[in-house]
Symmetry: C2
Subunit: 154 residues, 2 copies
DNA sequence: TCGTGGCTTCAGTGTCGACCGAAGTACCGG
DNA sequence: CCGGTACTTCGGTCGACACTGAAGCCACGA
C-alpha cells in the first residue's frame, strides 16, 4: 500500500524546515515556509497553520511576524472579525539568498581592516593577505553574477 | 595618547571572532583563527593560545581539534616533551567558502524533490517553481564562477 | 457598553551548546 | 619505574533560545 501525496508532502516539509533550521531559522518558521509553498488553497489563517503544523498559537504568531517582517510571507487582513490570511511571497526568496551572499562578501571588510592594521609589515601580513585576496575576488565576482540573474529587476 | 598596534589587533580579532560566531563557529575557535592569522611568530603552542586568548586549556584543545579537523589549522608535533605547534593553514580557507556555497546550492535538491511530488499539478506547483528556478540558476552559475577563480587548483 | 473571536505578549519550561577546570591519559627523559 | 609535562576528556555550570499556553489586548458586531 502506497503512501498518500499529502503524507509525503508533510515529510518533505519536515526536511525543508530541518535544512533551514541549520541556518538559524526556527523549526516552526521553516515548517510554515514549506507548508505555504505547497498548500492548497494557497492562503491559510494562523489558526489553520497552528492545527496543521501542530504548533502553539504563540509560536505561529511569533514566527509569522518574523517571516512577514522578512518579506517572505504576506499578511492579508479582511474586514470584520474574519481572521487574516497568510500566503507565501515567493518573489522575495531572492532577498534571502542575497542576504546570504552579502554576509559572505562582508567578511572582506574585516580582512581589509586587518590588512590596514598590518601595513608596514608585509611579511607578517602574508597569511591574512591570502584570505583577503580570496574575499576581494568574491566581492568582485559575486555581485556581477547577481546582475546577470534572469529578471534581476533591482 | 595613541593605542598600540597589538591592542588594536586584539580588538580586530574580537570582531573577527564575533562575525564567525554568528555563522556557528564557537567564539574561542574564531579567536584562534584570527590570532593565528596575525601573530608573530606564526606558530603557537596550545598553552600560549590559552594564555593569550584567556581561554581554558580544555576550550583551546576542543577548538583546536575542530579547526585542525576542518583543515584550517595545522598541528606540528615535535619530538621529546616539546609542545606541539599550531599555525594557520590559510590555503584551506577556500574550503570554508566552498562549503558555504555548497550549502546554498544544496537547497536545490530539496526544491527538486518537492517539484517531483507536485508533478501532475502544475498550478499548485507555481510557488515552489519560482523558488526552484532560483536555486537551479544558482546551481548552474556558482560552480562556473568557482572554476574561474584564480589558481583554482582543484 | 458588553461580548466574542483573533492575535499578540509574556512568564515559565526544557533543551542545547559553549565554556571551565579538574581529573585522567599518554608520553618521554632520566 | 618514576616524575613531569602536554594534551584530552568529562562532569558541571551558565546563558541563549525555541516553544508552550494562558493572560491580555484590540477590533468589531450587537
Amino acid at each position: 500500500m502506497s503512501v498518500g501525496r499529502e503524507t509525503r508532502l508533510s515529510a518533505w516539509i519536515e526536511r525543508f524546515a530541518a535544512h533551514f533550521a541549520e541556518e538559524g531559522i526556527p523549526l516552526i518558521g521553516g515548517r510554515i515556509l514549506g507548508y505555504l509553498l505547497v498548500c492548497q488553497p494557497t492562503e491559510r489563517t494562523a489558526a489553520e497553520l497552528s492545527q496543521e503544523l501542530e504548533a502553539s498559537s504563540g509560536s505561529i504568531s511569533t514566527n509569522l511576524k518574523f517571516l512577514v517582517n522578512a518579506g517572505l510571507v504576506t499578511k492579508r487582513t479582511r474586514r470584520g472579525r474574519q481572521a487574516a490570511q497568510y500566503r507565501i511571497n515567493e518573489k522575495r526568496w531572492v532577498d534571502l539568498i542575497q542576504r546570504k551572499l552579502d554576509a559572505l562578501v562582508s567578511v572582506r571588510e574585516l580582512t581589509e581592516a586587518g590588512m590596514r592594521l598590518m601595513s608596514g609589515d608585509p611579511e607578517r601580513a602574508v597569511r591574512l593577505r591570502t584570505v583577503d585576496d580570496l574575499y576581494t575576488w568574491l566581492a568582485t565576482e559575486l555581485p556581477a553574477v547577481w546582475e546577470r540573474r534572469p529578471s534581476s529587476s533591482r
